[in-house]
């Protein structure tokens, strides 16, 4: 189908949904927005800021000062602007995803374009957080824009988008290394024919310097907006210290609700370090196809980040559309799909039973987040397996594949 027809139609459909009365029903949902991305908290922060109260002096507002300055000056938040803006973010994301696909295939247009846009725009894990006006939509857009510019070899815009992303969500710092490496290579698929990655350390350092420069500028801007440094503890600190134990589909919240007080700092350190541990091994193993390494890290990020919502796994699942060559090598695609289906049904049900109905307890929802963790982990393992298995190709007669 013609991309020029399908894409506007999808965006128009999304816009119609955004103007339906859905946002009011969804914006408080814990699975669609976390304390770091919630829309009512953003509104509260903007309200306090406009009334001369430092929003970071309280414990409610944990959004970046950049969003605060944007929405308190240039773009006032109301029903109309937010519906348009959030839909536009998703439209840009889908468009960026299509661009990445074209860059990977080295074509200017392909028959899969419409499919890829549809996979992004119709993914319920992405659609619902956007309708709930979660700022994770903006984070996903920045991630895909950064990836798109990196795929096109445009260094500065890519690093700027990445710096913005890290400002909004500190754990996304795990994408710095793959994004820089992607800028120094190209996005073309070499999964089937691995080769060594050759570059000079100096060029990596140059890109890193650019990124740090952007980050420094944005941090200074934030300090300028707030007039002090309290926002650092409230925004970045929250991703490390986990002060708000509001339930989400991730693995952190219940673990730290039930954690013994004297072990809390130790396990916070372990969980944060655990997220970082994957970066180098994944980049080394997939050095021949850094775009694929970024995709794997997106899966790690979705599974293990401190305040995940459904939109993080949603991004990982939508990215899979870029790698059709791996589909036949996925290890247990049916099991993974069924697991996702299972947890997608359990999560809202048990959340409702626990917090609204009062007939279930916290363990119900915790159990479903564990199932969700299993399904995200299974998807991650499938992706890694397929990315490695493709290099072997079809097995010759009489041969068996083993891991050494």
């Amino acid at each position: 189908m013609d991309f020029g027809l399908v894409y506007p139609a999808l965006v128009a459909g999304r816009l119609l949904l955004a103007f339906a009365p859905l946002p009011d029903a969804l914006k408080h949902d814990h699975q669609l927005s976390s304390p770091l991305t919630s829309y009512p908290r953003l509104q509260e922060g903007v309200y306090l800021f406009q009334h001369g109260i430092d929003p970071y002096s309280g414990g409610l507002f944990r959004h970046s000062p950049l969003l605060l300055s944007l929405f308190s000056t240039a773009l006032p938040l109301n029903k109309f602007t937010s519906a348009c803006l959030w839909t536009a973010c998703d439209a840009i994301s889908a468009w960026a995803l299509v661009k990445i696909w074209r860059a990977r295939q080295r074509v200017s247009q392909s028959s899969r374009d419409s499919l890829i846009a549809a996979i992004y725009l119709l993914n319920p894990y992405l659609l619902l957080p956007t309708l709930a006006l979660s700022t994770s939509t903006i984070e996903n857009m920045l991630f895909l824009l950064s990836l798109m510019f990196a795929s096109q070899g445009q260094s500065s815009p890519s690093l700027l988008a990445l710096a913005l992303l890290v400002q909004l969500s500190l754990p996304s710092a795990i994408f710095i290394v793959p994004m820089i490496l992607l800028l120094l290579s190209d996005p073309v698929s070499r999964l089937a024919s691995p080769r060594e990655f050759n570059t000079y350390l100096s060029s990596i350092l140059a890109k890193l310097g650019t990124f740090l420069g952007f980050s420094f500028a944005l941090t200074s801007l934030s300090v300028l907006v707030c007039g002090n440094w309290t926002w650092v503890e409230q925004t970045w600190g929250a991703a490390v210290m986990l002060p708000d134990l509001t339930p989400n589909p991730g693995l952190w919240w219940y673990f730290f609700t039930e954690m013994f007080d004297h072990f809390r700092p130790f396990f916070l350190m372990v969980f944060s370090a655990h997220l970082l541990i994957y970066v180098l091994p994944v980049c080394l193993k997939f050095q021949h196809d850094i775009l694929y390494a970024t995709y794997i890290l997106a899966g790690v990020y979705a599974t293990f980040k401190p305040y995940p919502t459904l939109s993080d796994p949603g991004l990982f699942i939508s990215l899979i559309s870029l790698f059709p060559e791996t589909y036949q090598y996925l290890r247990y695609p049916i099991v993974t799909t069924l697991l996702h289906l299972h947890s997608a049904l359990l999560l809202p049900l048990f959340h409702h039973l626990w917090l609204s109905q009062g007939t279930g307890n916290a363990n119900f929802f915790y159990a479903s987040t564990l199932v969700f963790g299993v399904s995200n982990g299974a998807a991650l393992l499938d992706a890694i397996w397929a990315g490695l298995r493709i290099a072997v190709g079809n097995l010759p007669e009489g041969y068996e594949l083993i891991q050494k």
Binding site: P40, Q43, F255, E400
Partner: protein, 546 residues
């Protein structure tokens, strides 16, 4: 005979010494029959230390001057001087004060639970917060109450609502207010015993002998209060009060007649010899029905009947009866006119354990516009979405009727929310104020043992900014606080406390959660590294075809 003379001589000596050091002790008991058949009583024991000054906090480093008191409670005096407290108010109450039917209370502090507030001068030597902490713990030990839990997570400085009731000395430094409420604290016998020990005659003689815990804590509403204030040119005044609302209809067969014997199960056998005045006052109801008061050794003045306990013949048993009334008829709901200018209702709406809506409706019964201050001093157990604040008056959105004076948002585990506003109430109308709130999720160690019960939230406090109407206020106690004439706040009104139902984790399985989450993470981690660190190789499994 010899012994009796001796005791008398000692007592006389005592009294003359008291007068010389000019400490004064006044005791009073006030009865106020209420329109719903109940009886409000208030004991006040006032000790005035004439010519004394609160301790200047700048002298905290130095050795304090020695304290010699005859009737002023030493235990309290030591606490006041140790922490250099200028003004102190502690109340411990149980029950819900029904403003509509009982009117304004004689003692304004009727918030459910424990409430402590103090004005202290600033000092470089020991900060106000440090002294506030010490004061809390000292009073906690003094009155056997859990005031130690009034920590930073419940302390605010709502200066708009809690003005000093006495005067603040001019030391060249500013004074600061610290206020904390603990609504789940209840008053009981263990609080009354140390309270009685502060009285010069204990509960042996005089009016204090009526303080019978079996009856006091059986009352529909009861509460004790300790109020210390500094009155310029006079000295330091300590007022110990016990206020309660009895239901004589319940005791005496459907009639509202009462006597000291029927209410307290005691009569006054002896008067307290060192009291400068000892007085029982009975308010005469404004209604038409005739009342009979015995004994008839009283004087009448301004709607009150006065008995002088020291002169009255002992044993003294005062009684009041409505001879024409066979049975007390409760007023029907429609005919009961609210006794206060303003009525307040506060509710927490919503069934979800993660969010709700706080709703306050305030009705102005007066034909004039009233301004009222509104204070929410909310622990972080309930967090406000101030942007969702809506104000409706008679169904019309009226954002102009509120002006927010100060808002300090809460910080989890650190400090409560402080929300102070001035509301304008149009005449004869109801103002509906509501905002979204979210309920936080606590760590499992932060829940109390009976976690499913929920958490008590402190009352909101309203102060209608009216001109004082002294008909119900005791003339002796309504000295206007000096220095604050501009914003004179007559009477505080406390709303009933709220109960918030917070989501609880499962308390039995911290180990299980740690084990299961760690297992999942370890499994995924292990499998990922298994894939990343090992290489795929082909091996031949069947012999090569010939």
């Amino acid at each position: 005979m010899f012994w009796r003379n001796n005791i008398l001589a000692v007592l006389l000596l005592c009294c003359t010494w008291c007068l010389a050091t000019s400490e004064e002790f006044h005791e009073a008991l006030t009865f106020r029959p209420l329109q719903d058949g109940r009886l409000a009583t208030r004991f006040t024991f006032t000790t005035l230390l004439r010519g004394a000054y609160p301790r200047d906090p700048s002298t905290l480093q130095e050795e304090d001057e020695s304290q010699h008191y005859a009737i002023f409670p030493l235990a309290l005096g030591q606490v006041l001087r140790e922490y250099a407290v200028t003004e102190l108010h502690l109340t411990l109450n149980a029950g819900k004060w029904d403003y509509d039917h009982w009117g304004y209370p004689d003692e304004p502090g009727v918030g459910t639970g424990a409430e402590l507030w103090a004005w202290m001068g600033e000092s470089a030597a020991r900060s106000v917060d440090e002294r506030w902490k010490g004061l809390r713990n000292a009073l906690s030990g003094q009155f056997c109450a859990s005031l130690g839990s009034l920590d930073e997570q419940r302390t605010t400085s709502p200066e708009l609502t809690f003005r000093p009731e006495g005067s603040l000395p001019q030391w060249g430094t500013t004074h600061q207010l610290r206020h904390g409420t603990l609504p789940s604290e209840h008053v009981c016998t263990e609080n009354l015993t140390p309270f009685l020990k502060l009285l010069p005659c204990k509960s042996l003689t005089g009016i204090a002998s009526l303080l019978n815990p079996h009856r006091l804590f059986d009352a529909d509403w009861h509460g004790l209060g300790v109020h210390v204030r500094y009155l310029e040119n006079e000295g330091i005044e300590v007022r110990l009060s016990f206020q309660s609302v009895f239901d004589p209809v319940r005791y005496s067969n459907g009639r509202r007649d009462w006597s000291l014997r029927s209410v307290f199960d005691r009569v006054i056998d002896r008067s307290c010899p060192i009291a400068h005045s000892s007085e029982i006052r009975v308010a005469i109801p404004k209604e038409e029905t005739a009342v009979a008061i015995t004994p008839d050794s009283y004087t009448t003045h301004a709607g009150f009947v006065y008995f002088n306990v020291s002169n009255a013949s002992k044993p003294l048993d005062i009684s009041m009866s409505w001879p024409d009334e066979q049975k007390f008829e409760y007023a029907t709901v429609s005919s009961a006119v609210p006794l206060t200018h303003v009525s307040v209702r506060r509710t927490l709406k919503g069934s979800s354990q993660s969010r709700g809506r706080l709703s306050v409706s305030i009705t102005n019964h007066m034909p004039i516009t009233i301004q009222t201050s509104y204070l929410e001093s909310m622990p972080w157990l309930l967090q406000f979405y101030l942007h969702s604040l809506q104000i409706y008056s008679n169904g019309v959105s009226r954002d102009d009727l509120i002006s927010i004076v100060s808002y300090i948002p809460s910080v989890p585990h650190v400090r409560p929310t402080l929300f102070q506003a001035i509301l304008t109430l149009p005449p004869k109308s109801t103002l509906h104020l509501s905002m979204d709130v979210i309920k936080p999720f606590l760590r499992y160690t932060e829940h109390p043992p009976d976690a499913q019960r929920g958490w008590d939230l402190p009352p909101a406090v309203l102060v209608p900014l009216l001109h004082s109407n002294s008909s119900t206020l005791d003339p002796g106690l309504s000295n206007p606080p000096s220095g604050f004439e501009q914003l004179r706040l007559p009477r505080r009104m406390y709303t009933p406390v709220l109960l918030v139902d917070l989501a609880t984790p499962d308390f039995s399985m911290p180990y299980n959660v740690i084990i299961m989450s760690c297992t999942l993470i370890a499994l995924i981690f292990g499998m990922v590294f298994n894939l990343l660190t090992r290489k795929f190789t082909l091996i031949r499994v069947s012999p090569e075809p010939k």
